[in-house]
C-alpha cells in the first residue's frame, strides 16, 4: 500500500517538475525578448522600412521583414496546403492501408520531416539556378513550401487516420464515389486542417536557413514575386551579428514582433475553431 502511494507521489512530482521546467524556460525566453526588445520597440519599427544600410540601420523600421515574412510563410502555407491535402487524401482515402506505395510514401515523409531546413534551402536554390530564378519572394516561397509539405502531410495523415471507418462505410454504402467520400472527409477534418496550417505557418515564419539563399534580403517591401524579400528571422540574424548595441537591441524587438505575429494568428484561429465547434 505504501509502495503504491509512493509511486503515485513520484509520478506526480515528475510531471510537475517537467511542466514547471518547460514553463520556466518559456517564461525566460519570452521574458528576455520582452525585456531586451521592448525599449527598442516603437511605432516606427512596425510601420517603416529601414533607414540606410540594412543591418547597421539604427533608425527606421522592420516593415520590410514583417511583410516579407508574412508573404513567404503565407504563400508557402497556401501552396503547401494545395499540395498536401490531395497527397494526404490519396494516401489514406484512395489507397488501401496495406498498399506498398502508400507505406513507402509515408516513410519518405517521415524522413523528409527530419531533414534540416538548410537542405530545403539548398535544394530550392539549385532548382532556382537551373530555372534561372534569382533570390526572390518566389524562391523563398518555393523553399518554405518544400519545408512545410512533410509537416502538413504527416499532420493530415494522423488526422485522417483517426476518422472512424464508419464515415467510409456510411458514404460508400450510399453509393458515393471515392471523391464524394473524400469531400466528406474534408468536412470531418476541418479542425485538423487548421492545425496543419498553423504548424506549417509557424514553422515557415520562423525558419532562417530555407530563406537565406532563396528569398534574399531587401530593405524594400516586395511588390512582385521576382523581387527579393526580407524575412524577420533573417533580419534578427543580421541584427544580432552587428557590433552596435542599439542594432542588437533591435534584434530583440524584431523577435518580439515575430512572437506577437504568431500569437495573433494562433489566437484568431483558435477563436474561429471554437466558434465552429459550437
Amino acid at each position: 500500500m505504501r509502495r503504491r502511494k509512493l509511486e503515485e507521489w513520484i509520478a506526480k512530482a515528475l510531471m510537475l517538475f517537467s511542466t514547471a521546467f518547460v514553463g520556466i524556460c518559456l517564461f525566460l525566453i519570452i521574458g528576455t525578448v520582452v525585456v531586451k526588445g521592448l525599449p527598442y520597440l516603437d511605432w516606427d519599427m512596425v510601420t517603416k522600412i529601414p533607414d540606410g544600410g540594412y543591418y547597421f540601420g539604427r533608425s527606421g523600421g522592420m516593415l520590410n521583414a514583417i511583410i516579407g515574412s508574412l508573404y513567404v510563410a503565407g504563400g508557402a502555407t497556401v501552396l503547401g496546403m494545395c499540395i498536401s491535402i490531395p497527397v494526404a487524401l490519396y494516401l489514406n482515402v484512395y489507397l488501401k492501408k496495406s498498399n506498398a506505395f502508400a507505406r513507402f510514401a509515408k516513410l519518405a515523409f517521415d524522413v523528409l520531416f527530419g531533414v534540416p531546413s538548410i537542405v530545403y534551402g539548398a535544394f530550392a536554390f539549385s532548382l532556382m539556378v537551373y530555372l534561372g530564378v534569382r533570390a526572390s519572394l518566389l524562391g523563398g516561397i518555393i523553399a518554405v513550401t518544400l519545408l512545410v509539405i512533410p509537416i502538413m502531410v504527416r499532420t493530415l495523415d494522423e488526422v485522417i487516420t483517426n476518422v472512424p471507418k464508419d464515415l467510409k462505410e456510411a458514404t460508400l454504402a450510399m453509393g458515393a464515389t471515392r471523391w464524394e467520400m473524400a469531400k466528406v472527409y474534408l468536412l470531418q477534418i476541418k479542425t485538423g486542417i487548421l492545425t496543419a496550417v498553423l504548424l506549417a505557418f509557424g514553422r515557415g515564419v520562423g525558419d532562417v536557413a530555407a530563406v537565406m539563399f532563396t528569398a534574399g534580403f531587401s530593405d524594400n517591401i516586395p511588390v512582385s514575386l521576382h523581387e527579393p524579400a526580407a524575412t524577420l528571422p533573417l533580419a534578427i540574424f543580421f541584427q544580432l551579428g552587428s557590433p552596435i548595441p542599439e542594432v542588437q537591441g533591435r534584434a530583440y524587438a524584431s523577435a518580439l514582433i515575430l512572437t506577437v505575429c504568431i500569437l495573433i494568428i494562433v489566437s484568431v484561429s483558435t477563436i474561429l475553431t471554437n466558434k465552429k465547434r459550437k
Binding site: T171, A173, M174, T177
Partner: protein
C-alpha cells in the same frame, strides 16, 4: 419467392489472408421480407452482410470468389458498377454515424450525389424521409443544426432516413440497435417491420429475441457456413440441425 430474387448468393467464398471466413455460401434472400442472420460472434455474419454491397473490397488481403447476384446481376462481375450496386442498398450500421453536416444535409446527401434535385424537391424529400422514420416532429425546428447534436437513438433514425433517401430496394442492418437504449431499439424495430412492405431487409443480430420479433426468415451461420435457413418460427422452435438447436437453446455462443 420470385424468379430472380433481389439477392442471390452462389458458391460465395471469402478469405482474408489465411482465414476462410465464408465457406460455400448459397442462399436466396426472400424479397419484401425481413431476414435475420444469426450466429455466434466471429462466425461471419457481418462479413456475409457486407459482401452484399461490396464493402469488403477495401479490407487488406481479401479474396472473394463466387457470385452475389443483385437483381440477377453479378456484383462481383467485371463490369459491375459498384456505386450503382451500393445505391440499391441502404446500410444501417452498428453505431450511427451522422455525416459532419446539418440534419437537412445528411438526408439530402444521397439525393444530391445521385442527381441534382431542385431546392423544392429536396425540401420535400427531406420532410418525407424524416417523417418516414418519425423524426420530423422532433427536428423540424432545427433542420440546419448539426446532426451530431441529436441523441444516439435519433441519430440512428437519421441514418436510416439518410439511407432511405438514396431510394434503395434493399436495407442491410448490421446489429443496428446494439448501441441503442430499449426505447430507441423498439422504434427502430417497429420501423423495420413497417418498411418490409417496400424493401427487402437483411439484418445481422446477436439478439435472438430481436430476430424473433422482427424477422420472417432466419439464417443461422456457424464458423463461416450456413447451417440452416428457414422461416423464423421453424428455426427458433423446431430446428432441424443439431448446431442450430444448441445455439437457440443457448448452449453455444
Amino acid at each position: 419467392m420470385t424468379q430472380t430474387p433481389h439477392i442471390g448468393v452462389k458458391n460465395l467464398n471469402v478469405r482474408i489472408g489465411d482465414s476462410h471466413l465464408l465457406k460455400d455460401i448459397n442462399i436466396n434472400i426472400p424479397d419484401k421480407s425481413v431476414t435475420s442472420i444469426i450466429g455466434p460472434s466471429g462466425c461471419g455474419k457481418t462479413t456475409l452482410l457486407k459482401s452484399f454491397n461490396r464493402l469488403l473490397d477495401d479490407i487488406p488481403g481479401v479474396n472473394i470468389t463466387g457470385n452475389v447476384l443483385v437483381d440477377g446481376e453479378d456484383i462481383y462481375g467485371k463490369h459491375a458498377d459498384v456505386t450503382q450496386i451500393r445505391k440499391k442498398m441502404g446500410l444501417l450500421a452498428q453505431r450511427p454515424f451522422p455525416l459532419p453536416m446539418s440534419i437537412y444535409d445528411n438526408i439530402a446527401y444521397g439525393p444530391r450525389i445521385h442527381g441534382a434535385p431542385s431546392k423544392k424537391e429536396l425540401n420535400a424529400l427531406v420532410e418525407h424521409y424524416l417523417k418516414a422514420v418519425g423524426l420530423w416532429e422532433e427536428v423540424k425546428g432545427r433542420l440546419h443544426g448539426s446532426a451530431s447534436s441529436l441523441s444516439i437513438g435519433q441519430q440512428q433514425r437519421l441514418c436510416l432516413a439518410r439511407g432511405l433517401a438514396v431510394e434503395p430496394e434493399i436495407i442491410l442492418g448490421d446489429e443496428s440497435t446494439s448501441a441503442l437504449d430499449p426505447i430507441s431499439t423498439k422504434i427502430i424495430e417497429d420501423l423495420i417491420i413497417q418498411l418490409k412492405e417496400k424493401y427487402t431487409i437483411v439484418l445481422v443480430t446477436h439478439i435472438l429475441r430481436q430476430a424473433r420479433r422482427v424477422s420472417d426468415y432466419i439464417i443461422f451461420v456457424y464458423m463461416g457456413e450456413i447451417i440452416e435457413f428457414g422461416p423464423t418460427e421453424e428455426i427458433l422452435l423446431n430446428p432441424k440441425e443439431k448446431l442450430t438447436k444448441e445455439y437457440v437453446k443457448g448452449f453455444i455462443s
